[in-house]
Amino acid sequence: MTRYPFCISLLFCVAAALTGPGCRTGPDVQRTDPAMVVDYSGRWNDTDAQLVARAMTEDCLVRPWIEDFKASHGGQKPVVVVGQIRNNSHEHINTEVFTTSFERELLNSSRVRVVAESQLRADIREERRNIQANSDPETIKKFGKEIGADFILLGVVSTIKDEVEGRYAIYYQSNFELIHIETNEKVWIGEHKIKKDIKRKAWKL
């Protein structure tokens, strides 16, 4: 008689041990290389943002629009402002991550000038207004000296998702465009695609 119940008890004891509360008391934190690819949920993450930023800047800087502009403007560098990058995807994407990288690469190339985007400009104007009222007259910065941008960068990130429970494929397409502010002429269109196949385990012990 004892063997039967004992087997059942053993089975349930194992279940209890495996489903019972864990012994972890705090988070386990490790510093990792920012370039290291880490994917947990399969959602958009820093690696995707870096991939898009890198691909877009590389493509943008090798295209002839900079030289064309210089040739028609007496060798002057084009001035670029970053506009809105719309998120038309299924996920929350912080587009600022790759627009900042994009700006940095343009600046570091020394072939383009970059001016602050609209929200920053508003903040700076507020600061300039403050300076007018409170600063030493010799250090006052004048209004009306801002550099007008020649081109605006606009973009959109879209996704197509195909999903069944436990598995999904997602296709991200990022499209950036540089548009001449005066003429509406598009001088560059960049495109970057990422496709992911994400699978969840159906069972664990």
């Binding site: 008689m1 119940p5 004992f6 349930f12 194992v14 279940a15 299924h90 999903e163 429970e165 012990l205």
Partner: protein
């Protein structure tokens, strides 16, 4: 701990001193058989009592008294306090009810206007739902023998889809339009994904959400994306055909008005004519006129969501052996079905504009239908569980009979059958913070500053909602919660 109820009798046998051989041997003729399960009867009783106690400790979510207190606070309009009460009573939810905890927190925070906190919790609930796709073999096996409380609560399909609807509204209130649209897209995506995992003959009828499509239409319209607005308004109207068939909910007039106006603004003459023919009584407000007006959209969460109760039915597991099988079913809560009456008074003067909210999402009907759609899956599992328990007890009782005799076997079988009945509870967990229905009201007004008042069902005095500033072409969302 529910499985402990099952475990303990067997564990106790292993732990207690072995029964002397003399007891095991059949009693000599004429001598009385030793008492079944030798030992003092007090000890046996204590043992049995502990089993029953442990069985009763089966985790089944926070007690109804807790929800009653939360609802009292919500009925009084004190949603922030309700949020804090849920937070303070975290231990009322077992670790298998973390999704429920975050859902309750997310919803009470949403009703209380704590939109950031609401999103944090709803995000956690959503992630938990996804993580729980990976099933624990041990928990599943144990739940097959014991009950579904052993499994972490993953949320009903409609509960998980509605997470995105609430998140979307949170983002709208936070002024994050793109994020609101991201969540809105997730509603149908989530429903499709969940539905794809069910067999063809057991699909949910709640496949798409009409309310979220209407909200998407409003957002696109206010962003000037009229083509997209038309698509979503039209989709909402289409989903309402399903709503009418399955839940008896008909589309509100303002959905059709918005659809016609957006079609006019987008230059879609074909669609405009098609819908005008289909709904000849709906008057077209040309987009050129509407864009100079502001639109107030009131989302009104009304009533209590239905609660799950157990229903039993007999099943013959063997010839002459009929057992009771219990499965959950939703029980409706008293619901007035009354509208909220909104009054907007322009501070510059003039007559006040008064309008009422109309039913757009019958959460109660969706919940009930959703559960009915998986009735076959639930019933099959419940029958299998009861049958397995019966045969397990029968087999072990036979061993007891061989070792200790008939009386002990009968005692054992009686006790274990009672215990099995006690622990074979249907899973009655559900999100109790959801409303019974979501009503929506829309009004077009000239831009300006308005005093807002709302007369809610169950409240004697109208609620003052302060002042709002309306801009031409923009939408202002007002969220209200009422419990009668």
């Amino acid at each position: 701990m529910s499985w402990n109820c099952w475990l303990l009798p067997v564990l106790s046998r292993a732990d207690t001193p072995r029964v002397p051989d003399a007891v095991k041997r059949p009693a000599p003729p004429g001598c009385p058989r030793p008492a079944a399960f030798p030992g003092k009867s007090a000890r046996r009783l204590a043992w049995l009592a502990s089993l029953i106690l442990l069985a009763l400790l089966v985790s089944c979510g926070p007690d109804p008294g807790f929800y009653a207190r939360v609802e009292t606070l919500m009925a009084a309009g004190d949603h922030a306090q309700a949020y804090e009460m849920v937070q303070l009573n975290r231990t009322s939810y077992s670790k298998r009810e973390r999704l429920l905890y975050h859902l309750d927190l997310g919803l009470t925070a949403h009703y209380g206007g704590l939109y950031e906190k609401s999103n944090e919790n709803l995000e956690k609930a959503e992630q938990l739902g996804e993580e729980l796709y990976t099933k624990s073999f041990t928990a599943q096996s144990a739940s097959f023998l014991i009950n579904d409380y052993l499994l972490a609560y993953r949320g009903e399909d409609f509960e998980r889809a509605l997470i995105h609807l609430f998140k979307s509204l949170n983002y709208l209130k936070l002024g994050k339009v793109e994020d609101a649209l991201v969540e809105a897209r997730q509603v149908d995506s989530r429903l499709q994904t969940l539905n794809a995992s069910h067999p063809d003959d057991q699909k949910n009828v709640y496949r798409e959400d009409a309310l979220i499509r209407f909200i998407m239409g409003l957002v696109y319209e206010s962003e000037g994306k009229l083509e997209d607005a038309v698509i979503d308004y039209a989709k909402s109207e289409e989903v309402f055909q399903d709503y009418r068939r399955h839940y008896g909910t008909v589309w509100p007039q303002f959905l059709l008005e918005n659809l016609l106006t957006a079609a006019d603004g987008a230059g879609r003459r074909d669609l405009l004519e098609e819908y005008q023919q289909r709904y000849p009584r709906v008057v077209l407000l040309p987009y050129q006129h509407k864009k100079d007006l502001a639109e107030v959209v009131v989302v009104h969460y009304s009533g209590r969501s239905p609660v799950k109760v157990g229903v039993t039915f007999p099943v013959a597991v063997e010839e002459n052996v009929v057992l009771q099988v219990a499965i959950p079913t939703y029980q409706k809560q008293p619901r007035s079905g009354e509208a909220a009456r909104i009054t907007l008074q322009n501070v510059a003067g003039g007559n006040p504009q008064v309008f009422e909210t109309e039913l757009m999402e019958d959460v109660e009907a969706i919940a009930i239908t959703n559960l009915q759609n998986r009735l076959m899956r639930m019933t099959a599992k419940a029958i299998a569980r009861v049958t397995a328990q019966y045969f397990l007890i029968k087999t072990t009782a036979e061993k007891v009979r061989q070792e200790y005799g008939e009386e002990a076997a009968q005692n054992y079988q009686l006790m274990m059958s009672g215990l099995a009945q006690m622990i074979s509870q249907p899973d009655l967990r559900s999100c109790r913070s959801l409303p019974a229905e979501i009503r929506v009201g829309c009004a077009l007004l000239v831009p300006g500053e308005y005093d807002v008042q709302a007369a809610l069902p169950g409240r004697a005095a109208p609620l003052s909602l302060g002042q709002i500033k309306l801009e031409a072409g923009k939408k202002e969302f007002i969220l209200l919660r009422s419990l009668e």
